[in-house]
Chain length 195, copies 2
DNA sequence: TACAACTCGAACACTACTGTTCAACTTACT
DNA sequence: AGTAAGTTGAACAGTAGTGTTCGAGTTGTA
C-alpha cells in the first residue's frame, strides 16, 4: 500500500493552498472565535470544497491551525536567550513574543470549544513549560518573589498578555505601547509589594 | 390607555419566572457564552414559550441579564467604604467583589457579540468609573505609581480578576485563595518596580 | 502532450437554532 | 367559584451552518 500521501509528494499548488488555508484560519479565528468554514475558505481565496479536501472536519482544521501557531511560537522561544538575569530574560520574552502569543491565544480560545480538553493541554504543554522554568529559576535565584506560587505568576503573565491584546483590539491601547506596559507591570507584580 | 403593564401589576408567578429566567441566564451564559434559549429556559425550569413571553428576543434577554448583573455589582460597590488609604480600599474592593465581577464579566462576554457595542459601554460606564476614580486618587496621593496610565492600571485589575475566575473554573486555582493572590499581585503591580 | 491531481460551484441532506402560532391547561387573584 | 392571566408542548417557517457528492473545468508534472 502506497496510500496516505505525505505533504512531500503532493502537487505544489495543493501544498500552497494548505498554507493559505491555515493562514486564513488563524487570522479569521483571531477576529472571531467561531468563524465559519465558508468564511475561512473565502479569506484563503479557495473554494469551500477544496478546504474540505484538505481537512476532513472544521475541528481538524482548528487543531491544525493551533498546532501551527504553537509551533511558530516554539520557534521564537527557542531562538531567544533566556539565560542570565531572569528579569532581563522576562523582558526579552515579553518584548519579542507578545504579538505571537496574542495570536496563539486567540486560536486557543477557538480551540477551547472545538477540541477535547486533553488535546489542548497536550499541545500547549511544551511551550508553557519553558516559561514556567524561567519563572521558577527567577524565584530560586531571588529575582522574583516566592511568597506566591509559580503557577499563579505564570497565570498572571498569560492573562496580562491576553488582556493587552484584547485592549489593542478594542482600541484602548496602542500596539506599540503594549510591550513596555506589560513588562513594567509584570516585573513589578513579580516583586514583593511594600504592603 | 392603561397599556404596558409594569412589573407591579403582573401576577406573582409571572414575576417569579422572570427572576428565575434571569438567574438561569446568568449562570448559563457564565458557563457558555452562546448558550441557547432552550438551554436557559430548561435551567430556569420554564417552557421555552414562556421565556419568549417575557423577552421578545434572545438579545433582549442577554441585555436584561447584563443590566441585572451590573446593577448587582453597583449595589455591592455602593455599600463599600472606599475612602481613606487607597491601598486598603483596593484590597477591600477586590476582596468583597471579585466573585461578582467575575460573574458580570462572563455575561459581558456573551453580550459582546449580541449587543451593539455602544450599548455595552453605556451600561458599563458607571461602575467602571467608580474603580477608575479610586485608581486616579491613588495615583495623585502617591499610593500608586503614576508612570503608567490609569486606564492601563484599571485594565490590569480587570484582566487579573477575569483571569483568576477562569483559573478557578479550570481547577488551576482554589476559590478561597484567589482574593489574596489577586490583591498581592495587583498592589505589587501598582508599585514601581526596582528595575 | 497527456494524464492524473487538483479545484470549483451547485446542489444535496442534515442538524441546530430562533422566533411564532395555537389550542389546551393550570393557577393566581377577587 | 369564576375569570383573566399565565403556562405549556407541539408544530411551524426561516435561517445558517456542516459535511458530502457530482460533474466539469483547470493546472502541475513527467
Amino acid at each position: 500500500m502506497s496510500r496516505s500521501a505525505t505533504s512531500q509528494d503532493r502537487r505544489a499548488d495543493a501544498r500552497q493552498n494548505v498554507e493559505k488555508i491555515l493562514d486564513a484560519a488563524i487570522t479569521c479565528l483571531s477576529r472571531n472565535a467561531d468563524a465559519s468554514v465558508s468564511e475561512i475558505a473565502q479569506a484563503a481565496g479557495v473554494g469551500r470544497v477544496t478546504l474540505y479536501g484538505h481537512f476532513p472536519t472544521r475541528d481538524a482544521l482548528i487543531e491544525a491551525a493551533l498546532v501551527r501557531v504553537i509551533s511558530e511560537g516554539e520557534a521564537v522561544l527557542e531562538s531567544l536567550d533566556l539565560a542570565g538575569d531572569p528579569r532581563r530574560a522576562l523582558r526579552v520574552l515579553i518584548e519579542s513574543s507578545w504579538l505571537l502569543i496574542a495570536r496563539a491565544s486567540a486560536v486557543l480560545v477557538a480551540a477551547q470549544t472545538a477540541l477535547p480538553p486533553g488535546r489542548i493541554h497536550q499541545l500547549h504543554a511544551e511551550p508553557a513549560q519553558r516559561v514556567d522554568e524561567l519563572i521558577r529559576r527567577g524565584q530560586t535565584e531571588g529575582a522574583f518573589r516566592d511568597d506566591l506560587p509559580a503557577t499563579w505568576l505564570t497565570s498572571v503573565l498569560h492573562h496580562l498578555l491576553k488582556g493587552a491584546a484584547l485592549d489593542v483590539a478594542n482600541g484602548l491601547l496602542e500596539q506599540a505601547d503594549a510591550p513596555r506596559l506589560i513588562s513594567e507591570t509584570v516585573l513589578a507584580a513579580y516583586t514583593r509589594g511594600d504592603t
